[in-house]
Amino acid sequence: MTVNGQPRAAEVEPRTLLVHYLRDSLGLTGTNIGCDTSSCGACTVHVDGEAVKSCTVLAAQVAGAEVTTIEGLATADGLHPMQQAFMDCHGLQCGFCTPGMVMAATSLLREHPNPTEDEVRLGLEGNLCRCTGYHNIVKAVLACAGGGA
């Protein structure tokens, strides 16, 4: 598979989950493990450009795919516009849910470039913030959409 643009090849046990491969084998610990039951979205990454919960995908299922983690969003020129929007709007408190939120939000904007506030809230329903900071998260996503990101 390709991870953040780099080709990666590995022999893994069939039961290896994508999130464990990313964190334990590749050291990409930006992707968090939260609920571990595909509810909380902390482990959200992109597979071929779409948000998926990497705790519920076997690494072997995405062999050959393009995987992007939070570490792969920023470029040499700086933060991804969504990351910048989260910073500008204070879309985080403790930060645990943030990588998953940003990955879900970028996937959402790819499918709905100009979402309404309701669409953002529904689009992020699979990502839980336990600091209850949704207000600013939604604001960040709307700001990023408005900024043409």
């Binding site: 069939p14 039961r15 519920t56 076997l58 072997a60 996937s107 699979g126």
Partner: protein, 284 residues
Amino acid sequence: MIPAPFDLVTADSAEAAVAALVEHGDDAKLLAGGHSLLPLMKLRLAAPAVLVDIGRLRDRSFVRDDGAHVTVGALTRHRDLETSPVLAEHAPLLAAVAAQIGDPAVRHRGTIGGSLAHGDPASDLPAAVLALGAVLVAVGPGGSREIPAEDFFHGFMDTALHADEMLTEIRIPKTAGAGWSFQKFNRRAQDWAIVGAAIQLGPTPRVALINMDMQPLRASATESAVAGGASPAEAAAVAAEGCSPPEDLNADAAYRRHLAQVMVRRGLVEAAGRSAASGQSTVT
């Protein structure tokens, strides 16, 4: 949480998947999107010795207009049902149901065939295919066979599929603009329905219930009442007849019976409104 060890077989065709199932028998399970099976395996509620990965059978992922019906490949993801223009025109109920499953990330992976084969009475798609009067097509070592949706769900997570069969497609009669509704009651974002109802009007009105028994099922008393010209309130009053609803932290059986009546009443009203909007009420 990590699943118990298993061997992984990657199938490059439905025939290869069936051959693997024949070889490994009851020890093997098919893996499509994995969004029903993997959570169970992580909780060690399921521990198949062999997983047959059919997730790469791209030719089994499609929504096709076949004249009198729409054919949906079993590997079609919820996201692709949700956004299908063919379904929007000919079976909007299915697209609407798919759009409310889990959350967007789940809908990027989960497939219709996987969800139906899982046979969970709390999941949404079984009710949709029951309400639509769909026919499910399965392939096994002896060839393929058609199973009407109403004969498919046998019990709790138990379906008509044999251990060596794979669901390949779902055929959905076109609904010709007839009214429909999907009602899902839950208390947390992305959760399963505490109770839900899928309703498709037309020459044969069908009402299917979610989470009202050990298996997905139709509300036959309500269907007879609708066919006999009963009002939504009258027809909904018998929605829970014959059901043995499960009890859990969310709801006891009496509450589920009540919810079923409310969901069905709202659904019948909404469906009738949609029929009227498309001119169907003057036809039937």
